[in-house]
């Protein structure tokens, strides 16, 4: 079913070119690109040790594969050929195939990001299950050598951070909902956005396949100087992260520009939805810090290939650690800011209550963004000189003040509300509970004397899983249930939704509360084998972890079922006021027939509050927009 187009336009549009599915073509072209560039590298820089594939060749080949992949998926048809004067082919606008092709519609791109994130969440989650299976025994069982285990840890962390935690709610929900929420028909740079999403699969594949090049044992942080002498797979860790961060950078630029320039009439900064504020602050963080880590990773890669002696023992080993965490701590706020924004997006709707202290909630997001670049070295208290400990612990403590503003707004909104305890409400409240534990355990880690014991133990692992799974993943699930009627016009089963929520909540806490105790009992990180006295505790932690994995499976199956087969619901089942609910579900290709006009706050409830949205009659708007 092609989208009907005006008659004159239809004639000038050529038929689609791709003779076979773009994904298959992209794989083929990527393979060709790899072989060609690796061959050139082998010819220019022959290695006496290796007949064909060298470190240089595998890097050059990767860039060849990247170019081939992006051209094959649509870059050639939609960007290169039009540049040479050929007409731009039509983009598929209906059917399931459009999700496996180059797309311009921000909703299709958003779902592509969501699909990639969810798939990677499953893969990296299965790796976590394998790790927990290993840790049921104090001796090697599943992973026969520690490097197998360490490589699994590294891939789990890298995929979860760069493909799930920083992508699902930004590239996924952000791309899908920000244009709808601010009342526009498209994003600012749809062409770049259509390409950027295809950097995710190649990034994920690069990281997943990296052990083929040589196992690496550094974990997701790639600490130097271990990285300098570690396996060559690290090259693909650097490059995979480079692809994924480039994707996130394009999303950030696109959504920032969209929010700045594409807001509908009347959408002032004071009326901008909280989720859009969250995405804006996250995107600014991404624009500031992603280039920094990309530069660091490129230097790390060159250091390994050349070597440049930047970060290995002949250079400044700690230099890499500082550069990594300079990005690495803002990264965790990139993860959690959309979650904090989602809480205060959902609670007013479910509580039929005006958002409490909205300016404070927004300021909280902005100040977290500003402070997040000043705390990084608290990851390195055991490495730094004494004089650095006081300032970094100071800023670390202080950042909990603006983070607390999200709680301030949420609690003020809950008070005296008429709270509908639906699955999204439940998940938001659970997320608040979990993130609270993540934050309070941060209090202990920010305390330097205690940190010198807790650092690099399972206490830290528990802490950041509480913030990332407990904060972000629970909020992501809340958002999925909340917006499910929007995605598909169908809804979920309240029974299965609540059961799934309670299931993951109990299993999650049973798993990760144990991590704190394990850490206090002397369980350190990155070990596949550990002293025997820790085995009983680890055993039960693993059992809980398997329940957690099953719980996520139940929720994913339920959401997919509801998406396809769930009962149909009315257009705005929650009676929400924000703009994404003022159009049909699922939204039409161009979002709004007539662009809505905002005349009031989306977050004000109560008697005699006028509707914040006015839909102008068709004549009032410029035709052809």
């Amino acid at each position: 079913m092609a989208q009907p187009l005006p008659k004159g336009q239809m004639a000038s549009m050529p038929k689609r070119i791709a003779p076979w599915p773009p994904v298959l073509r992209a794989f083929l072209w990527a393979g060709i690109g790899f072989v060609v560039l690796a061959a050139i590298a082998a010819w220019l820089d022959p290695s006496p040790n290796s007949p064909y594939l060298t470190a240089v060749g595998s890097v050059a080949g990767w860039f060849g594969a990247l170019i081939g992949w992006l051209l094959g998926i649509g870059g050639y048809d939609y960007i290169v050929r039009p540049m040479m004067g050929y007409p731009t082919p039509r983009v598929r606008t209906s059917g399931w195939r459009r999700y496996y092709e180059y797309a311009l519609d921000h909703k299709v791109i958003g779902l592509q990001y969501l699909g990639a994130s969810t798939g990677t969440f499953l893969v990296a989650g299965l790796i976590a299950m394998a790790m927990r299976f290993q840790l049921m025994n104090y001796q090697p069982t599943l992973f026969h050598y520690p490097e197998d285990y360490l490589n699994a840890v590294g891939i789990h962390g890298t995929l979860m951070m760069f493909t799930v935690a920083t992508v699902a709610m930004v590239g996924g929900l952000g791309n899908y909902f920000v244009p709808l929420m601010i009342g526009t028909r498209e994003t600012m740079f749809p062409k770049a956005s259509g390409i950027s999403v295809w950097l995710v699969p190649i990034g994920v594949l690069t990281i997943s396949m990296s052990p083929l090049l040589g196992q690496w044992s550094t974990g997701w942080r790639g600490y130097e100087p271990l990285a300098a002498s570690d396996g060559s797979g690290l090259l693909y860790y650097y490059l995979g992260v480079f692809a994924l961060t480039t994707s996130s950078l394009i999303v950030a630029i696109n959504l920032t520009a969209t929010i700045l320039f594409k807001r509908t009439k009347g959408m002032t900064w004071n009326r901008l939805p909280l989720f859009a504020w969250g995405i804006l602050t996250v995107s600014l963080l991404n624009i500031i810090w992603l280039p920094e880590i990309q530069a660091t990773f490129i230097l790390g890669m060159l250091d390994k290939v050349m070597p440049l002696n930047l970060f290995n023992v002949f250079g400044q080993p700690l230099g890499y650690e500082y550069l990594f965490w300079l990005f690495g701590h803002p990264e965790v706020y990139i993860v959690v800011i959309p979650a904090l924004a989602i809480w205060n997006e959902i609670l007013p709707v479910m509580g039929r209550k005006s958002l409490f202290a909205r300016p404070i909630a927004v300021l909280g997001l902005v100040f977290v963004m500003l402070l997040s670049g000043m705390v990084w070295a608290h990851h390195m208290f055991t490495m730094m000189r004494f004089s650095e400990m006081l300032p970094f612990s100071f800023f670390t403590e202080m950042i909990s003040i603006p983070t607390g503003f999200a709680y301030l707004a949420a609690i003020g909104t809950l008070w005296n509300s008429r709270l509908r305890i639906t699955t999204p409400t439940l998940l938001v409240l659970m997320s608040m509970f979990n993130f609270l534990i993540g934050g309070l355990t941060g209090l202990f880690l920010a305390d330097v004397p205690a940190n010198l014991q807790l650092h690099n133990t399972f206490f830290v692992v528990g802490h950041f899983h509480y913030t990332i799974i407990g904060g972000m993943v629970f909020s992501w699930m809340a958002a999925m249930y909340y917006w499910l009627p929007k995605f598909s016009g169908r809804t979920y089963s309240e029974f299965w939704g609540k059961l799934g929520a309670i299931w993951v909540f109990i299993a999650f806490n049973a798993t990760f509360l144990n991590f704190f105790i394990l850490g206090l009992h002397g369980m350190n990180r990155w070990v596949s084998a550990y002293p025997k006295y820790l085995q009983p505790e680890n055993f039960w932690t693993s059992i809980a972890a398997f329940f957690l994995g099953a719980g996520f499976g139940i929720n994913i199956i339920h959401i997919v079922w509801a998406w396809i087969k769930g009962p149909k619901v009315k257009e705005n089942p929650w009676d929400a006021k924000t703009l994404e609910w003022q159009t049909s579900s699922p939204p039409p290709a161009k979002n709004f027939d007539v662009l809505p006009e905002v005349v009031g706050s989306f977050y004000t409830y109560g008697d005699n509050v006028p509707d914040p949205v006015v839909i102008p009659s068709v004549q009032e708007q410029t035709p052809g927009l």
Binding site: E147, F356, A357, M383, F394, N416, R418, F444, W526, Y533
Partner: protein, 273 residues
Amino acid sequence: MGSVLVFGLLWVVISLLGEWGATTWINSAPDGTGPYFGTASNLGVIGAHAFDFLVWVAVPIFVFVVLMIIFAMIKFRAKRGEKVIDAPKQTRNNKVFVGSWILISILVNLLVWLHPNASGLEQVFAAQLPANNPNPLVVDVTARQWEWIFSYPQYNITQSLNANGQDTLYLPVDRPVKFVLRSYDPFHTYDTAIDVIHGFWIPAFGVKYDVIPGETRVIYITATKLISTEQNPMARVQCSEVCGPGHPYMEANLHVVTGLAFAKWAKQQASRS
């Protein structure tokens, strides 16, 4: 207003109960240092006191938020099947609540930064001054992939080993120990080009410090309890920074013994090496 009173009362009562529980938990440890477990050294005790104080700070905050979540789910719940109507009271701001929240959160954060953080650090720094560590036992700690090597230059021990030939750390109780953390040992050949960061951690001592290639760092620790790996597995030297495939196995046994027993052991070792 009624809800505020009920909530406030519940918060105070449950917080007090929580504090009582936390105190009981902390005092339940044999030495009254709570769930921190790593208190067999002077530095560990500082960390443990910080940890315990933070437990007391965290309890009322935790109770406030969790109680609020539960309270809202019970008190402000819309009844099932009820018509969806807006909440009757639409408070969009409350200067007293917002103002006191911001003020209290700033004060609490300043407090925990000053105490136990800055005050604890002051003790840690003081404990690192050579003047405060008279007559220290010098232990050269060499970390390499994947072995801890301990040498005692004052006792002419180049590498302390147990009967099985494993590296082992013997320390006298209540005597300051000057650990010289380094990644190169003149008595053992080692390719410095592949050197990596290790973490010198004794869980029972409640403290760790990293060994950085190319740097020599000094940390003073005084062991305060007679412990050994055999009776308490927390008493071990463990690498705490991922250092490659051998990382999980980079550990060594620890014995904290009396001064007399240490002198005897040192004499024995010196005669061997």
